[in-house]
């Protein structure tokens, strides 16, 4: 049970690693109906568009940092807002770490603002994000 009173500014949200397989990436792009070839056609992605490998979808990475928040709050709070930005490419086979930190507490509204990140193994943030939850 997560309670507003117990949460301190600066504390970390539980992080989680994601390593998408080609099967998972296929399932995701089928689920959202995305036929963009950079997500399943290695030769096209590398030879035609100059990427290092098959590219992970930005919104999939966005979802992973969203899960940092939804797993953290469970049924104890509701999501008010969520945002993310695409900063750099991430590739199939990379292990990405999703995490976040409590930034602000508003005692009047019982809202908490968190910052979120998705990092690659080199520590580079590919997707920064933010969310507000209400208790």
């Amino acid at each position: 049970m997560l309670s507003y009173e117990d949460i301190t500014v600066g504390s970390e949200l539980p992080s989680r690693d994601h390593t998408a397989t080609i099967v998972q990436l296929f399932m995701y792009n089928a689920a959202i109906w995305n036929p963009h070839r950079i997500h399943f056609d290695h030769a096209y992605a590398t030879e035609e568009e100059g990427y290092d490998a098959i590219v992970l979808d930005g919104p999939l990475q966005g979802d992973w940092i969203g899960q940092v928040v939804t797993d953290w709050i469970g049924e104890d709070a509701t999501l008010v807002s969520f945002g993310y930005a695409n900063r750099r490419a991430a590739y199939l086979g990379e292990t990405m770490t999703a995490g976040g930190q409590v930034e602000e507490k508003n005692n009047e509204t019982k809202e908490i603002k968190v910052s979120l990140y998705l990092k690659n193994a080199q520590g580079e943030v590919t997707i920064p994000g933010h969310a507000v939850v209400r208790f």
């Binding site: 994601h18 998972q24 399932m27 995701y28 089928a30 689920a31 959202i32 109906w33 995305n34 036929p35 963009h36 070839r37 950079i38 056609d41 096209y44 035609e48 568009e49 930005g58 919104p59 999939l60 966005g62 979802d63 992973w64 969203g66 899960q67 939804t70 797993d71 469970g74 509701t78 999501l79 008010v80 807002s81 969520f82 945002g83 993310y84 930005a85 695409n86 900063r87």
Partner: protein, 151 residues
Amino acid sequence: MAGLLTPEITAKIGETNPVIHVEVTRRDLQKYAVSTGQRAKKYIDGDEAPPLFHFGYIMEILPPEALRVDGIAEDKLIPPLPLKRIMAGSSNTVFHRAIREGDKLAITRQLNDIYEKEGKTGPLIFVVTEVIVETEDGEPILNETTSLIAR
């Protein structure tokens, strides 16, 4: 200011795509949940949608021969821009409530703004679109604002 935006381009500001009508099925929710690695039972069971689930609903369903060579459907809302290199953008969503199994949704996508700025390495064009998700009865669900940058 480079003056890249013609009247033909800026005339598109305020336009909307045809409203997308969709009924949210448990099967669609479950497909999304397993493919994104959700852990919450309500998502895995397909009772409720994770925050970014609606993204798939704005993808146009076209036959392969109607797509560009890269597999993408031409975006009818955003006019051709004089700057061709699209830099990845950002997304910000305000939620009124979560999408749930059985919801009948009306989804509107509109072009909110196109403007240009002088960047460090040359001119940039910013394109701002908004996705409005509500029920067929008009109950607001979420508003997502997306920005793209062309250089």
